[in-house]
């Protein structure tokens, strides 16, 4: 027999002014199972809580109903009080008679009547509450960072700093990411390499950090605190442990006509290559698509010149399996492909370049050694046109619907650097809006205009036409002057929209994390949990979550690290006990629940059942991992047989509430 205590709070006059609390307590005392029903001025106060605690002990209560403010306010307070008095905290129910009753109604009679009904519903529910115990699940003290750009490096360094082992998985032969390709950074104009490379070196030397370069994630299993990840180390045909990075092989390699990805294909590299001088790890990689030895079996020069004996043409992909407690995604971004924007003649004219290509053209380690020359004829450009928002802020059919955020600032930077270094060059920037929110950002942009005399023109370029004399005709509108312009430019620079890396989508599927329609990872809460994914134990760092500049990326990377560390310091995590569970006797094994579970918490096992006719049958039944389940209940409705139910909000509990309300 249930022994339920009801406690009605006056909340000063907040409740008592509109609701006859005595009448509520009196009426509810007659409900079945209720053996004590009291009212008090402030139930959440210490003496109020003591009232509840004493009643639990004195009457040996099996359930508590508090008629008070919203459970979102004080459910935890009363659960803790119950627990301290020896009652399972999940045997407490709150009837919300303040926010959802006394504060919205004026008529005392009807408000009191409603409060009684809400109280009855809570009593009906608490009759069916079961004691729940929060489970615990151990945490593996190791983190995985996917992506080795500035976001991944920063996250890894912060986690390592806290004393946890962390692995970086980078798909390219070196870490560094996009920042390594950038020349200078806004708004300070300091050199990107000068601030990035020390961090790369630090990462490679940190005893807690393992870098898996030229590697990909091939499988993820498990859940928060206990992920099992398979990492595919792609064959680079060079033994990483032996290679000293001397670079002799790259010099001697006869195949030198391979487009250099690091320089955006603006120059060539050899078939065996180290992406750039400061690469980490500084290890050569053979590109099997170009290597003569791999293609024809004739060459082998690199192997001959390598004194370390690191070359291994027979190397195979390797798979490593590793357990992690937390995973940080830092897969970054890429500029979009500009093939469909014919009007900008990107594919027709080598002197129409993207901003990232311009970075390489201006970089001292770039194809021209830092001198800005036209890619077509290596002459000095005298008129350069920048086009903003190429592929950003578009209708879905025309490009990306979002603002790529970083273009306004890097264009101002480019314009300024060019005007600084080559004062004889005229620079035009066609913009729709100049967006410069950020510390010292607008000041930076104004400097480009006022100090460096960059011509900012409000309007969009309509057509770019390469001319036979080598000039490029840029046809654009000047909306403020209300005229159409033709500029005979030497170079055109397109601020291409940025998009998430292509590897992000399959990765999200493996991690069971959500993405938006643009393939950016979705954060758990747009304001309050911006660096966590909705899947517990998966954190987001950098531009994989949305367009970001470097300071924002680093800030988010450290935030993600802090969240990951917060998880890793725990020996075990307490699980929310209000999770789904499946009644195996009724489960059909149809997989409906698995399909709607946003967390991948449901798996299927083949289980033996003793049948009524004494035979043994093997049936496929659902099994919920309580450490992963977040308790949304989607599965309970997807289940046609009603085998799936949710602790704390069970079918019978909700039906009891419905009945009590409708009675």
């Amino acid at each position: 027999m249930q022994r339920i205590g009801v406690f009605v709070c006056h909340c000063g006059t907040n409740i008592a002014a509109t609701i006859d609390v005595k009448a509520v307590a009196e009426t509810l005392s007659k409900e079945p199972g209720v053996i004590v029903s009291q009212d008090y001025q402030y139930m959440c106060s210490e003496s109020g809580q003591n009232l509840v605690k004493n009643a639990i002990k004195e009457h040996n209560l099996t359930g508590v109903v508090v008629c008070s403010c919203s459970p979102r306010m004080h459910e935890n307070t009363f659960r803790k009080a119950a627990a301290s008095a020896g009652l399972n905290p999940y045997l407490v129910e709150i009837a919300n008679i303040r926010e959802q009753c006394s504060w919205i109604h004026k008529d005392i009679a009807s408000a009191t009547e409603k409060a009684i009904i809400l109280g009855k519903a809570a009593v009906a529910k608490v009759h069916l509450n079961a004691p729940l115990t929060a489970g615990e699940s151990p945490v593996v003290k190791r983190a995985l960072v996917i992506g080795g750009g500035i976001a991944g490096i920063q996250t890894a360094l912060d986690i390592a700093e806290a004393g946890f082992d962390v692995d970086i998985v980078e798909k390219n032969p070196t870490i560094g990411g996009k920042m390594a390709q950038i020349d200078k950074t806004f708004p300070t104009l300091d050199c990107a390499a000068c601030i990035l490379t020390p961090k790369m070196v630090e990462a490679s030397q940190n005893e807690h950090i393992t870098i898996h370069s030229f590697s990909e994630i091939s499988d993820v299993k498990g859940f928060v605190g206990n992920f099992t990840v398979t990492i595919k180390k792609k064959a680079r045909f060079v033994d990483e442990t032996k290679c000293t990075g001397c670079g002799l092989c790259t010099e001697k390699c006869p195949m030198k006509k391979v487009p250099n990805e690091f320089n955006m294909g603006l120059d060539n590299r050899s078939a065996i290559y180290i992406p750039f001088a400061q690469a980490v790890p500084k290890v050569a990689t053979i590109d099997p698509n170009y290597c003569m030895m791999m293609k024809t079996g004739k060459c082998g020069i690199c192997s001959k010149v390598c004194s370390a004996g690191a070359i291994d043409y027979k190397q195979q992909d390797q798979y490593i399996e590793q357990k992690y407690g937390a995973i940080v995604v830092a897969t970054g971004f890429n500029p979009i492909n500009l093939d469909k924007y014919d009007e900008f003649a990107y594919n027709q004219c080598p002197d129409v370049v993207t901003s990232l290509e311009l970075e390489r053209l201006m970089n001292a380690a770039g194809p021209n050694g830092g001198t800005l020359l036209r890619p077509s004829d290596k002459t000095h450009p005298h008129k350069i046109v920048f086009v903003q928002c190429v592929g950003s802020r578009c209708d879905d059919s025309k490009g990306k619907p979002y603002c790529s955020k970083i273009c306004c600032m890097y264009t101002a930077k480019h314009a300024m650097l060019i005007r600084e270094k080559y004062p004889d060059t005229e620079v035009y920037v066609f913009y729709i809006d100049v967006r410069t929110p950020g510390k010292n950002f607008d000041e930076f942009y104004r400097r480009a205009v006022e100090q460096y005399n960059v011509h900012y023109i409000k309007g969009m370029v309509g057509k770019v036409t390469p001319r036979s004399d080598g000039k490029i005709d840029v046809q654009a509108s000047d909306l403020l002057a209300n005229e159409q312009l033709h500029i005979d430019a030497d170079m055109v620079v397109l601020a291409a929209a940025i998009e998430p890396d292509k590897t992000a989508r399959p990765l999200a599927t493996m991690l069971t994390t959500q993405m938006d329609t643009n393939d950016f990872f979705t954060e758990a809460h747009p304001k309050l949990r911006p660096v966590e994914s909705a899947t517990a134990g998966i954190f987001l760092s950098g531009a994989c979550q949305g367009p970001k500049d470097i300071p924002e990326t680093v800030a988010q990377a450290s935030a993600a690290a802090a969240k990951a560390i917060g998880l890793l310091v725990k020996n075990s995590i307490t699980c929310n006990p209000c999770v789904a569970h499946s009644n195996e006797l009724m489960c059909n094994g149809c997989s409906s629940c698995e399909k709607v579970c946003p967390y991948g918490a449901i798996t299927y096992i083949d289980k033996e059942f003793k049948m009524p006719d004494r035979t043994v049958a093997i049936r496929r039944v659902a099994s919920v991992n309580p450490a992963v389940c977040q308790g949304c209940g989607a599965c309970t409705v997807a289940c046609p047989s009603g085998a799936m139910d949710l602790n704390g909000f069970s079918n019978s509990q909700i039906i009891a509430e419905v009945d009590a309300i409708c009675k």
């Binding site: 919300n96 919205i104 004026k106 809460h525 709607v596 977040q630 209940g633 989607a634 409705v637 009945d659």
Partner: protein, 148 residues
Amino acid sequence: MQVNENKEFQPLIVAFCCNWCSYAGADLAGTNRLNYPDNIKIIRVPCSCRVNPMFILRAFQRGADGVILCGCHPGDCHYTSGNYFTRRRMTLLFSMLDFLGIERNRTRVEWVSAAEGAKFAATMNEFTEAVKKLGPNRRLEDLRCRKQ
């Protein structure tokens, strides 16, 4: 049942609210003292996707005159995708009820965020009025549960 001509029909309405958005929205309506009729009785569920069509039918069976389901706006679900499933399930269920000739305005789905106290109150006012117009639920009630 005797109809008292002087007394306006007072419908009984069950509102299922998800814990993270709509229930918080209802709380906000309370905090801002935005009135809505006491016909509305709220049941808290973790997510709108927890609401089984059985609960809705049960409410009608036991004498509810209207059922409204509130959840986070699409895309804002605390559990990322719950309300998308809700939307499909309820669209089909309501369509079926309509197909069976049960007044379509007795059921509704609304997205109310934790910040939309005013919307919650307005929605409840409006829904109560709509159900009032329909009168008592007769087409989907259990005669044995009829109040005397």
